[in-house]
């Protein structure tokens, strides 16, 4: 019984491996990219532009914040210096 079972399994093995090595099913129709569902249409250009734009905007925004903070500190220093000069007089 066991021998017959093993014989069947062993004879089926090449068939299984042959089935597993089958090439993928051929593409039987060409679908234009704009006919794909929206989730599958993903052009690269907007992603690339978004990445570069983010870097540029982040740098510009950060430079603006530093400039604003520096101006605030300088203005405060000027006020303090004027006050101390007035106090000395």
């Amino acid at each position: 019984m066991l021998t017959r079972f093993l014989g069947t399994v062993l004879s089926l093995l090449p068939a299984v491996s042959a089935f597993a090595m089958q090439p993928p099913a051929p593409q039987n129709e060409f679908i234009p990219i704009d006919k794909l569902p929206p989730a599958d249409q993903l052009p690269s250009a907007p992603l690339l532009v978004a990445a570069y734009a983010f870097v540029w905007i982040a740098v510009m925004f950060y430079l603006w914040t530093i400039w604003r903070r520096l101006n605030k500190v300088e203005a405060e220093m000027r006020t303090l210096e004027q006050r101390s000069a007035a106090g000395r007089r």
């Binding site: 690339l48 990445a51 570069y52 982040a58 740098v59 430079l63 530093i66 101390s84």
Partner: protein
């Protein structure tokens, strides 16, 4: 540095203006195509982030062990620059991954560890801003902890199985891709140094303002 700041800023602006031209001329990668060109800004932004992290960590150690306030000011400036470049990496990465991996984010070793380092430095800035008296020492310890995470982030792609490309990609870049890449790295490093100088200047002026207030009391 004060005298060189203007010409170096001009050079950085020229490099950033020319970088897209070099990137556009670089060949398309065979499997990812156009979207792979995000690489030319994505990787240099991490290089700049790691540089800022090392500056922050080393200056924090100097502040902790030698009690030098100027080191603390430079560390604070570098912490902010690290977060800025970290955000660039964390935004450009998912934009690239969405097209090439099909997902915006993957909780794998590299991405998760990079996010952890970024969160450590956001935490560092929050502690510095809202921690109250004595928070500078706690923040310095956080910066040192964050700095020691960086080698693990870098090596994570080689140690663990992840979908992120390994570090071996960069040394193997062909010349026509390597040229624009190293040009962008130079531009980002220059930008990092310039921003760090400018931000440190703000911290020095703040310290001078505090001294003025103390003088008046």
């Amino acid at each position: 540095m004060k005298r060189a700041f203007g010409p170096l800023s001009f050079l950085a602006a020229v490099m950033f203006a020319y970088a897209p031209i070099m990137i556009a001329r670089a060949p398309y990668e065979s499997t990812m195509g156009l979207v792979q060109k995000i690489f030319y800004f994505h990787v240099p932004s991490w290089f700049a982030m790691f540089t800022a992290v090392f500056v922050c960590g080393i200056q924090s150690a100097i502040f902790l062990f030698k009690r030098r306030p100027s080191a603390d000011r430079l560390a604070f400036a570098a912490g902010e620059i690290a977060v800025l470049f970290g955000f660039m990496g964390l935004v450009t990465g998912p934009l690239w991954g969405r097209k090439s991996w099909g997902v915006w984010w993957q909780w794998d070793a590299r991405l998760t560890m990079a996010l952890l380092v970024q969160m450590t430095f956001i935490g560092y800035l929050i502690v510095r801003k809202y921690g109250g008296p004595g928070s500078d020492k706690l923040a310095a310890a956080m910066a040192i902890f964050g700095m020691f995470n960086v080698p693990f982030v870098y090596m994570s792609v080689n140690i663990w199985r992840t979908i992120h490309p390994p570090t071996t990609v960069i040394p193997k870049l062909p010349a026509e891709m390597g040229g624009p890449f190293w040009f962008c790295v130079a531009a980002f490093m220059l930008l990092c140094v310039l921003l760090l100088t400018l931000r440190a200047q703000l911290e020095h002026r703040r310290a001078a303002l505090d001294a003025l207030y103390l003088e008046q009391e």
